[in-house]
Symmetry: C2
Subunit: 751 residues, 2 copies
Amino acid sequence: MHMWHSAMAMLLQVEPLNEGSNWLWLAVGISVLALLTVFYFAQYVLRSDTGTEQMRTISDAIREGAEAFLRRQYKTIGILSIVLAILIFIGYKVSPRNAPLATKTVIAFLIGAACSGFAGFTGMYVSIRANIRTASAARTSLNRALQIALRGGAVTGLVVVAMSLLGVGLLFFFFGGLATPREVPYQVVGFGFGASFVALFAQLGGGIYTKAADVGADLVGKVEAGIPEDDPRNPAVIADLVGDNVGDCAGRGADLFESTAAENVGAMILGAALYPHFGLKGILFPLVARAFGLIASTVGVLIVRTDDKEDPMQALNRGYYVTTVLAMVGFAVAVHYLLRDNWWFLGSGIVGIVTAFLFVYITQYYTEYRYRPVATIAKASTTGPATNIIAGLAVGLETPALPVIVIGTALLLSYWFGLKAFEGTTIVGISDYAKGIYGTAIATMGMLSTAAYILAMDTFGPITDNAGGIIEMSNQPEEIRVKTDRLDAVGNTTKALTKGYAIGSAALAAFLLFSAYLDEVKEIVRGRMPAPEGTGSFAGFSFNSVNLASVPVFVGAMLGAMLVFLFSSLAIRAVGKAAQYIIEEVRRQFRENPGIMQGTAKPNYGSCVDIVTTAALKQMVLPGILAVGLPIAVGVIFRYFTGFHVAGGVPMINGQPINLIGAESVASFLMVATITGILLATMMNNGGGAWDNAKKFIETGQYGGKRSDAHKAAVVGDTVGDPFKDTAGPSLHVLIKLLSTITLVMAPLFV
Amino acid sequence: MHMWHSAMAMLLQVEPLNEGSNWLWLAVGISVLALLTVFYFAQYVLRSDTGTEQMRTISDAIREGAEAFLRRQYKTIGILSIVLAILIFIGYKVSPRNAPLATKTVIAFLIGAACSGFAGFTGMYVSIRANIRTASAARTSLNRALQIALRGGAVTGLVVVAMSLLGVGLLFFFFGGLATPREVPYQVVGFGFGASFVALFAQLGGGIYTKAADVGADLVGKVEAGIPEDDPRNPAVIADLVGDNVGDCAGRGADLFESTAAENVGAMILGAALYPHFGLKGILFPLVARAFGLIASTVGVLIVRTDDKEDPMQALNRGYYVTTVLAMVGFAVAVHYLLRDNWWFLGSGIVGIVTAFLFVYITQYYTEYRYRPVATIAKASTTGPATNIIAGLAVGLETPALPVIVIGTALLLSYWFGLKAFEGTTIVGISDYAKGIYGTAIATMGMLSTAAYILAMDTFGPITDNAGGIIEMSNQPEEIRVKTDRLDAVGNTTKALTKGYAIGSAALAAFLLFSAYLDEVKEIVRGRMPAPEGTGSFAGFSFNSVNLASVPVFVGAMLGAMLVFLFSSLAIRAVGKAAQYIIEEVRRQFRENPGIMQGTAKPNYGSCVDIVTTAALKQMVLPGILAVGLPIAVGVIFRYFTGFHVAGGVPMINGQPINLIGAESVASFLMVATITGILLATMMNNGGGAWDNAKKFIETGQYGGKRSDAHKAAVVGDTVGDPFKDTAGPSLHVLIKLLSTITLVMAPLFV
């Protein structure tokens, strides 16, 4: 141990127990290294064979469609970001007390937005090129196909986590974090908000696109024209394949970019509260732990290999286990060097890891047909679509129960570990609350330490899905289809697991983020008040109260829950509207060009891609603006409900009351929106997944198999589940994180 | 004014400004008078003609089925009540500090349960006899049919409100409320809990019964055998008609019995907090205002008459307007005599009335096909069941938005009126919070003052529905069917409106009830602590904090929201399971007795009624136990999370910390469960109603009319909506009120 210790110290060229600024450079260095690895993985993918001419034609169409969508989407998001940046700037400038922070906040916001965009773009750039190469490799070696798909996915995974780490690390440095470490974390929150803002629109736009194309293609192709899925005669088929990339790949990438960015910032803010004990190291711990997680994930990706016999899922799981173990080792090293060997914190980290595992397991239980829930839905399909839907909704409504219990236990346990970690030490200026909350923050870090690997597995999904589509459309022999189908099935599983993981981490991160919000409000108030006479400290004041018994706070909570329902409604309706355009276009093509159905004329794929692109971008704006506008409106309006506080609820500094009712109402808005969001998103993700697999179960020959009445009923359920699990559900993950960061950034307006 | 004042005083034989015990007798007297009116209405109905022999056969079958169900249901509920009563008794007795209250609480609980049962039984006794008389009257006069149905419904309405008033009033008296008015309201809470407990099972059991019978009859009759609705060849048709009575009539009656009982008790507790200002009169105000509302409702019912040309809905609306105006006058009189002419409180009352109106209007917007929401669902039906379901879910998720805004505004406004009412007066021992909350309590009273009339309109629904069924099954001429169809259509509207009203009042009452809970906890703590030295008062202690920033409190909130989802899941699944039994039984009868379908043999209606009775009663137990058990478990377990409080969050008496973390976690459990419950129930009620009416809209000839593909799709939506709007949604109203009363009663276990 001692040798390793010295070697590490030499490597860093620092004294082992110095104030720790070198740890910042270590984290930054590792993220740069990760970006180099990304370059290597990208080269590995791009060097591979691109198959036949016919395959390239299809792949090119997908690539062009996806790139066109991303270009136009980023343009729209860019405009919205600039508008918002101006609004933030004005909002900060009007009050002389916030004015000094205006520029830093806007810069952080724009950099966060740009990094998220860059990460999404790079990830998708490689994914839409990896699909054809995976397809081509499947013609010779399953192992090679698996490796191309996973390494293609790893580009997204690594670039997302590395960019968020690099962004936060460098902003911390340039904003002077090494000189004034306790203040700078608050100034970096704009980065998280920029990331969430882009993530919201990326996930919404991508989610609407993918399901509008899917539902539209299915309804008019399978139902009206009676042609199979992925049939090249369907003009919407390319739009459908494009959708897999922009929704699952770019969307989920933005989602997890946002998670890691916001969690980095939030944990640093909480670390700042522990400054008297850990110094700079407590603030840098999240970055270092995350950096070690990057290394762990890279190793995990590199060791994955399989042969033609093994279930590819086992190979991916091996990689996951290795990543997990290495991440834990890295965590232990970070605790050793940065948190003074306080092993209670490792306990918190392990709580996070176990939470991730349990979420993965619970998601499987509710979405795989080996278990009761999916089996009930399949059985209910025999009495028609109505009972299929009723059974699916019953399963969906049941699914949040276990995840809520897991999250609740994880929060309580990690909080307790945080308290235990400081037991016996008496440190002036650190509250018990700050100690416990730091424990929950570390659990979140534990949960997110494997994020890059999980994301690689997730992006594996759309790549193999697309590979299957390319094989199908280019009429390859049956034996190759079997291979890509095996990979595709694994991809479906990994996509479902990632959604469970994303929501679990969002839930855990949310508590961390609103603790950071409370801290932020406290700092704002302290900054504004004249220093108390004599003492020069504000020991008497802290803002830890979000009192639901207060009427405005309760009303804020109701509005938060309402936002979640209304946002979901808008997202689902957007899919319906956008799908309508596709349906009309496909009908038009079939009508005007009868050669398409006879296979003598090529359909116009491009027009479908164009139409769904325009429609999805148009439809994402309203829910997006609602999500951003409502919390700000609550905070600004509820400030005027002074005198509505409960008795003794008005905080005082120097005997002077402070009006925090706006800030408090926003906090309850945020917390109850988060709770409702977790429940509704879990219901939608798992309910949708269960419907999907009930259909697949029947397709294996149960209850009459394909083309039976039960199958028709199950198809209805699957179609209903689509906007649940791929649009509204995932958008809700992002929504709840956006609410956390928006309130952090806008806090000065609420006080 | 002065003359009226003196006349009133003479009538009551009291001095105008005495301590007010005579007001108690006035309220009790009016409720006895209301019960006499019930007797008159019942006589009016029972005296009427019972039609032909064939009609009587059908009606007898419905009556027997409903009575058999009610008998068995009450037996089950009776056993559960006794078990719970024993548990409450033991729970109170184990702690020496609660022991003195054990007997009173158990007595109040059992009387509440018995009153609720009696009210439900009487209401249904008349309803299932009014149906055939309405049908018979429809053969000669629409006015007479309308009056029989409404007065039959008024039996339920008046008996429910009068029994809850009488029960609370007499318990208050017998528990010594005139001697110790500040303590006794807390001892009456058991009455509210008894009422909620019965209501939960009545609504759950009735809701499961009605929808299992409906879904079962439809699936096997309409879909499999291809016979129309209400066809006498369908063995489940009587069970279906029985269901309307046990679900809509007995279930909703129990629901509103619970609302008025719990609201009476809750408002009295809050009135106790204002004792220094208003004395006994502030505590009795809720009872007096409710009593005046009873008179207003009776007059409203009596003036309703129509002719053969007018839309019967207009006649019912006239009665509603008269009731509303009279209730407001009664409210003003009560404010004048009991609240010292403080007209701000009348303002709060008007807020409640306006809230009721807005809820009725919003419900219409979302469920009538004149407006956008239903029209979208109907249009979406043209592309099949999947798009119908997606559109319906989008509408459902949208529906809570406006109600939440209305409730939020009503709470803030009535709270502000409460503060205003005391402006300028300085009263020792009354906090601003108590003043404001009393304002919200009065708004709730305003909303509930027309409850008896609303309930009469609601029960009108199943009576006319049944009347239509009897006319249909006894092959009456077309012109009579047209008349009963007109009444039936009105009944559908009134049923939907009542659900909106019930949830609005539940939402408003909920805030009142958890304020009462906080007060109750405060009193428990004060009762247990030794009186502070010297002062003899606990001025330094109040329990007004439900701090979501505290981890256990947040976890409690998550669990509360989870309960709502899980409970809904269980309720919906129960319908599916119970329907399965019906389907199998009907299939068996068709198979074993082919004469049924040919019309040569009579099906065995009784066996279907038996089977669904057994199934519904069995299925109601699990969700019921979950609803009762989880909040108690949270309160008892979370007591052990001491040390998890936020800084400064531990309340002190005489420098001694008090462990309130259990009580606080239960409070947030309750509040967030309430918020989630309101949202989910609104979504389910209105979504279900919208699906139903989208089908009816298509049946008017839109999109191809009956038997078109669009209609088939709309039937799927309607079937999915059934357990939403008639089982899970209404059961959620009761659930959230049950949570309020259960925490009130069990509070001593959480501290």
